[in-house]
Subunit: 264 residues, 2 copies
């Protein structure tokens, strides 16, 4: 089902997901509302993971933490249920993908702590609203993502390189792109680098580690933002006994507007 026919309220979209009337990639669903990356981990590693996010706020901007024993993100989406309201989840055991599930009620445990992390959809809307075209969206592709040589700041069992996403921007719009995304520190915020892929240890910009390559034209500058794949990659690095994430693109839709998270 196309997302274009979805209702526009976050709660209505979540209700359709919960009742299995619609599930899918949430790009374009409930436009203007914040969507969240999801990481669900056992309580015994929750402090380390929260600390990892605190130390690495650009790749891991925390929107909400739902404590063990609960599954309602009462701040971001009162009444929602993380067990049923994410379109599709991935289940990892000891760092290995063991399956995907639409509804995770059957595997839910009372010791699971849920992290809602900011997602680039919010700042991409801001860029498009500011008149800065995004090629991967225009071409219906996934954004290009690269593993860098920039180490995150470790915390407990969690460590690993930062993953970035890249968007080519016309040189006349680079300053504006920095300004626009700087307004949204809770959803990755300002770029981590402008211009030189080599400065981040990226050897071949035409071969992203995740997502799809896009052309960089002669009058364009590649801009790099910290990417929400980072916390997932870092968490899996540590091989937790259980980790549940959203499936790529299948985000949790919150009740807050992108603009609520703008600093000015």
């Amino acid at each position: 089902m196309s997302t274009l026919t979805l209702p526009k309220s976050p709660r209505e979209v979540r209700d359709l997901i919960r009742s299995n009337e619609w599930r899918g990639v949430t790009s374009g669903a409930a436009p203007g509302y914040v969507q969240a990356n999801i990481a669900i981990l056992p309580r015994d590693v929750a402090f380390d993971f929260l600390l990892f996010c605190q130390r690495n706020p650009k790749p891991c901007p925390v929107l909400e933490v739902v404590e063990a024993g609960r599954f309602e993100p009462a701040h971001m989406a009162p009444g929602a249920d993380l067990r049923t309201d994410i379109p599709r989840c991935r289940i990892f055991e000891d760092g290995q993908l063991v399956g995907e599930q639409e509804d995770i009620s059957s595997i839910w445990r009372d010791d699971l702590v849920s992290f809602l992390l900011g997602c680039s959809f919010s700042f991409e809307s801001a860029l498009v609203n500011a008149g800065i075209p995004l090629r991967h969206i225009d071409q219906g592709k996934n954004v290009a993502m690269y593993v860098t040589n920039v180490e995150t700041t470790p915390a407990g069992v969690f460590s690993g390189p930062m993953v970035v996403s890249m968007r080519p921007v016309h040189h006349s719009q680079v300053v504006r792109a920095v300004q626009v995304t700087s307004r949204f520190p809770s959803v990755h915020g300002a770029p981590v680098h402008v211009g030189d892929p080599g400065a981040l240890g990226i050897k071949d910009i035409t071969r992203p580690d995740f997502g799809d390559a896009v052309e960089i034209r002669d009058d364009e500058v590649p801009i790099f933002w910290a990417c929400g794949v980072t916390p997932q990659a870092v968490a899996l690095n540590s091989k937790p006994s259980l980790m549940i994430t959203h499936a790529p693109g299948n985000m949790f839709i919150t009740d807050w507007r992108d603009e609520d998270y703008a600093v000015f």
Copy 2:
């Protein structure tokens, strides 16, 4: 010893403290550098406290968390030692003040987690630099602080009202005061309220709950900022078996400049 004769580098000031050559209120020491509120708690409540800070970033802006077994704030002040480099600490047991110590090495335990939280000294410097006079500084007083009827968002064992500080600002400078402090979200940031003490449940503005009263003139507006006393008050509310804090005004001096924490 007056702080006016202190060296200007944070490390030099910390070295004087560690060697017992100087201890005291750090206002004016190492000008331009971030000073931190300190809260040290046992590991068993550390996740809840970090989560409390994440949920209440205005009163509880986390600068760094030093994990159990360590006492060096490696991010904010490499080489420093929290056991010896805070001018004076307060020791609380089961929520009760049981003593003050300059050097806490003798009571240090391997299960203690240390929180460095932003302090209003940073945004006060920004206000003064912007030409906005602060009466309590001009009069050599402590800032006026009030317990409000605004509840913080609880986390685990931690809950309680937000404490705010109040500074009177000439009506022509209110907008500028909001703008200037909005640049510093890591050190309490934008005001939580402008104008009406009653809106925060403050019954008598002339009687602060902590600190000293200051006059509010007819052409001035009271502006309220979230205050770093909040996390301390909330933590003590929960009567932790042990909690160590800095003594009032006896902050930990970091190696980062205030301007490093400006968002723009």
